[in-house]
Symmetry: C2
Subunit: 210 residues, 2 copies
DNA sequence: ACTTGTGAAATCGTTCACAGCG
DNA sequence: CGCTGTGAACGATTTCACAAGT
């Protein structure tokens, strides 16, 4: 009973996703137990790191045995909050927004995009990837109806600030920000920036080095 | 002249992208100089961090003045390797692959998707977002012709390993991996995992906490 | 004999703070 | 006098290493 109720370091939470994804795969393969060693090895991490990360949340293993895959999957989902499905809204049905609406991978991991929002008459009223595109003015009503707490923001830079305020007013408390701009956020809201071009830049840097 | 020729920490390179994006924006606004302080502030970082990060690569500022925006943009592009356009291939024209092909944002940052590859007859021969989808067997020829070094991998888990080997054989040395699986990579190749669902999980964790 | 959980040590990254330049 | 560049101090994260459980 060590480090409960500390703030959890961000790198730990990132790895939790990694563990969950891998354990889910192992469960589907019919694997019933894993050691921190084998789990770590398959993810290019160390066994001590796996144990320490899990140790932030409880004692899930058995000395001499390892971890039971099924129960650990459930535990990680509970910790990450994906033991229930989160309704998500997407704001900004431009190139990237429409691209994300066509992506089907969120569902399997516990997130359902229930509606998209934009202001352009050309997209409002359409249905993209099975998701209806509504006018932004419908956001508060719809967010309230579904109890939406998370949003994907994919608007141009200059619209990001206003959109973020509308999201906050509608009760959204977590934003995945694809807009290429930093955003000051209220204390009760979490913003995670994602920049796909930046990911390629990281590769470009490392590949260019040698 | 301190720390040249050290290995550069990954967080530093990530912030380089951030600096470049912001400086490019400032340049377009007609701003000609910035201090580490003002740049840091707009990105929620500290001035010391900005100076130290740039210090890995040289001395670009002037005491008492700050940094000249235009020259620093050029310098950062050179450092990140995006002073020239990188041709990129995409492998896997499923949901996510097609979504990424429709995204137009890579171009502006120095990356051009020149072709996509798949094995499914249903997509091979099509043109998605202005990019032709070819059979994977055309990969070596096309990669050689364009001198492609970077790839975006968006195939299902079970195809990832084989695809990675084909990419390596075709001369690709950097892979942006959207497949939800860890991949062992040869020493001469860099793999960067991207998992959009995991990004939402990080939000879900933080929002669920309070 | 194997494997967990965890303090202690080591490593890595950030922030401080100031000498020196423009 | 403002601001950079950078050692030194600090803080965070990872790895080590081992006592204890099965």
């Amino acid at each position: 009973m060590p480090n409960r109720n500390q703030p959890i370091p961000a790198p730990v939470v990132r790895r939790l996703s990694l563990y969950l994804r891998r354990l889910d795969y192992l469960a589907n393969q019919g694997v019933e137990k894993v050691s921190s060693r084998s789990l770590a090895e398959s993810l290019s991490l160390t066994d001590a790191q796996v144990r320490k990360d899990l140790g932030y949340f409880g004692q899930f293993g058995r000395a001499g045995v390892g971890y039971l895959v099924g129960p650990l999957v459930e535990e990680l989902k509970r910790i990450l909050g994906t033991d229930k499905v989160w309704p998500v809204v997407l704001v900004g049905a431009g190139d990237l927004g429409r691209a994300l609406l066509r992506y089907k991978g969120f569902r399997r991991r516990g997130f359902e995009v229930v509606a998209a929002f934009d202001v352009a008459a050309a997209v409002v009223g359409r249905n993209i990837g099975g998701v209806p595109v509504l006018h932004i003015r419908e956001l508060p009503k719809l967010a309230a109806r579904h109890g939406v707490k998370l949003a994907i923001l994919a608007v141009p830079t200059e619209a990001a600030q206003v959109a973020a305020e509308q999201l906050h007013a509608a009760g959204i408390r977590g934003i995945l920000n694809f807009a290429p701009t930093a955003m000051p956020s209220p204390a009760d809201t979490v913003v995670r920036p994602v920049d796909l071009a930046s990911e390629l830049e990281q590769l470009s840097f490392r590949v260019g080095q040698k």
